[in-house]
Symmetry: C2
Subunit: 359 residues, 2 copies
C-alpha cells in the first residue's frame, strides 16, 4: 500500500464544507475525485467546483457526512468497495471507532480523522482547497488499523497542509468538548441572550459582540448531533463554567471587588494556556516598544541595530495610522535579548520605551 | 463657541489607549495636544507619538482616565480651566452624569461621551489615530448641557470618524451591559474554564476558541470598575444567560434533542438581531452562487450580465483558493433581483446554483 496522490482515486460521500474542501485539496494534488451526496444542490456545486461528475473505483473512500450517519455510510461503502481504504472526518470519535471495531474487516482498512478546520457557514459553496492548511488534523486509528495504513493516511493529510496529531478516541472527545464544543455553546449562549432585547440597545454593538457570537451562526442540524454525542464530556466542562458564572453573579450581587477582579484575572490565565499555532508551546516574550518616524528605511535601521546588538527578534507589531507622522514598532524578544537591545537602542538615542512582560 | 479643529487646544488627562488615540486623531485634524498621566511610561509614549510635551491653556479638556477617577479629575480640571469645555470617554454614564449635574457650573460646560472602540490591549503603546473611524460614538449630555455644546462636541467626534448617537445615561448603561459587558463576561468565562485543563487537550485549539476568548485578555484593572459600576443592569442580563445555560445542561442531561436544537437555533436568532455596521438595520439578502473559471475577465463578464439583467448587486464574496481552476462567486441581492438574475444567467449557460436565503 502506498498512496501516490497524483494517481489516487477518491470517492467522497458528503459534499458539504469539509467533503468538498477535501475534494478541492486532493484534486490540487492530482487525485481523481467522485462525489456522492443526498442533497442534489450540494452535489452539483461540488462537482462543478472540482470538475464534473466522474465514475471511478476508489482507492480511498472519505466519509464526510454528519456524524450520525458515518457508520451506516461506512458499512455501505465497504460493501461496495472492499479493496479501498476508509477515513471519516467527523467531530466525534469514541462511538464511531467502537462501532467500527465491531467489524474487523472494515476496521483493518479504516482510520478515523478529524480536521480542526471549519467555518460557521456550511455547504459545498463555502468550500476552499486551502481549508486544512496549517490546521491540526487529528487521526484516531482503531485497535486493528495497521500502522502502515495510519502512516499512509497521515502522509496524505500532511500533503493537504494539515499538522497530523494522533490521539485516542476518548482523549479526542474530551479535548473537543473543551476547545470546540465549549466555545460553540458559549457563543450560542451569548447570542441567545440578545433575543428580545430592545433594538436600540443593539444599535451600539461593536466588534466584541460580533466576534464572541460569530460561532452562533452555526447550523443546529450539525451541532445537535455533536453536542448530544459528547454530552458526558460536555456536561463535565459546563459544570465548571456554571460554577464560575454563579461565582460572578454572587460577586456582583455582593459588590465584592476582589472576587470580580479574580474572575477577570482567571480569564487572563485561561488565555495564557492556549498554545500558539500548530500545537506549539505557549511562549512568553518580552516586548520592547520603539517610536519611529514615518519615513523610508526606519525599519531597516532598527534591524541593523538588532544585528549589531546580536539579538534575535521573535515577532514584531507595527502600529501605524494613515496620516500620522510617527509609528510605534513593538519587538518581541526573549527577556535577555530585550534587555540588551533596550540598552543598546537607548545609547543610540532611539525613542525606546519601558519593556513589558506578557504574551 | 465654535471649535475649529485646526486651532483647537486640547488637554487629555489619561494617556491610555483611548486618550492617546484621541490625541493622535485630534492632532491629525490640526489640534494642539498636551497630555497628563500619573504613569510616566504612558505619558512619555503618548508625548512621543503625538509630538513632544507642550504647555497650553486648553479650549477642551478630555478626561480619559478609568471611570472610577473621572469625576474627581473633572472637578480638578474645571478648577484649573474654568473657561474650557469638558468631555469624558468612560464606559459608564449614569453615575458620572448624576455627579456632574450636582455641579451646574461644570455641567453647563460638559458633555459625556463614550466611543464604542477599544482593543483588548491597553496603554498608550496600543493607540491608533484611526481607532474611532466607523465606530459609534455615544454622547450623553447632562440636563443642563446647552445644545450648542453638544453639537460642537458631536461635530468634533464626527470629524474623528465617529458616528454620533445621543442616548440618555440610563439607556446607555443598560445597552452596554448587553452589547459590551456581556461579551466580556462570556469571553472571560470561557477562558477561565480552560484553567487547569490537560495541556494536551489545549493543543488542538483552533480559531473558534481563540476568537471567543480574545476579550478575556482585557485588563482586570479596567473591567472591575465597569462591572461593579453597572452591576444592576449586568445582573439582569446574566439572569437570562444563566437560565439558558441551565436549560442546556438539563437538555443534555436528559438527551433532549428538541431542546438542544432550540438552544442552537436561539443563538442563530440572536445573531439575526445584531444590526449591520453603524447602527444600520439588519438586512436579509438572497444569495446567488455562481461557479466561474479562474481566468481574467470572468468577474467583469458577470457584472456585464448584471447590468444587462438590470439588477443591483448589494454585496459579493469570492471564494478562491490558490492553484484551483475554478472559483465560486456569491452575489447578494434583494430577492426579486436574485430571482431575475438567476433566470438570466441560466439562459446564458452560466454555472449558477440554487438561491439561498439568509443573512
Amino acid at each position: 500500500l502506498e498512496f501516490s496522490p497524483g494517481k489516487l482515486k477518491v470517492t467522497i460521500v458528503g459534499a458539504g464544507l469539509i467533503g468538498t474542501s477535501l475534494g478541492l485539496a486532493l484534486k490540487r494534488l492530482g487525485a481523481s475525485i467522485s462525489f456522492a451526496d443526498l442533497d442534489p444542490s450540494n452535489l452539483r456545486i461540488a462537482q462543478d467546483l472540482v470538475g464534473g461528475a466522474i465514475e471511478l473505483e476508489p482507492d480511498l473512500v472519505v466519509v464526510a457526512t454528519p456524524v450520525g450517519a458515518s457508520f451506516e455510510v461506512l458499512k455501505a461503502q465497504f460493501a461496495l468497495h472492499p479493496q479501498a481504504m476508509f477515513i471519516d472526518i467527523g467531530g466525534l470519535k469514541s462511538k464511531l471507532i467502537n462501532d467500527v471495531e465491531g467489524f474487523s474487516a472494515l476496521a483493518e482498512r479504516f482510520c478515523g480523522t478529524h480536521p480542526m478546520a471549519g467555518r460557521e457557514i456550511v455547504g459545498a459553496h463555502a468550500a476552499r482547497a486551502d481549508l486544512f492548511e496549517g490546521r491540526t488534523w487529528i487521526v484516531t486509528p482503531t485497535h486493528v488499523t495497521p500502522d502502515s495504513v495510519t502512516q499512509e493516511i497521515s502522509r496524505l493529510l500532511t500533503a493537504m497542509g494539515g499538522f497530523v496529531l494522533s490521539m485516542s478516541p476518548d482523549e479526542h472527545d474530551r479535548a473537543v468538548a473543551l476547545v470546540s464544543h465549549l466555545p460553540q455553546i458559549m457563543s450560542s449562549l451569548t447570542s441567545s441572550t440578545l433575543v428580545g432585547a430592545p433594538l436600540t440597545d443593539l444599535e451600539i454593538a461593536g466588534q466584541g459582540l460580533r466576534d464572541t457570537t460569530r460561532l452562533a451562526d452555526s447550523s443546529a442540524h450539525v451541532w445537535v448531533d455533536l453536542l448530544l454525542g459528547n454530552r458526558d464530556a460536555i456536561l463535565k466542562v459546563l459544570e465548571s463554567t456554571r460554577k464560575s458564572l454563579d461565582g460572578l453573579v454572587d460577586a456582583l450581587d455582593r459588590n465584592n471587588r476582589d472576587a470580580v477582579t479574580s474572575f477577570i484575572e482567571r480569564g487572563n490565565a485561561g488565555r495564557a494556556v492556549i498554545p500558539g499555532k500548530h500545537g506549539g508551546k505557549s511562549r512568553s516574550y518580552t516586548f520592547l516598544p520603539i517610536v519611529i518616524d514615518d519615513k523610508p528605511g526606519e525599519l531597516a535601521r532598527i534591524f541593523d541595530e538588532c544585528a549589531e546588538a546580536d539579538v534575535n527578534v521573535e515577532d514584531l507589531v507595527i502600529e501605524h495610522s494613515p496620516g500620522q507622522q510617527t509609528g510605534l514598532i513593538t519587538l518581541a524578544l526573549n527577556k535577555e535579548d530585550a534587555v540588551a537591545l533596550h540598552e543598546h537602542l537607548l545609547q543610540k538615542d532611539w525613542r525606546v520605551h519601558a519593556l513589558r512582560e506578557s504574551r
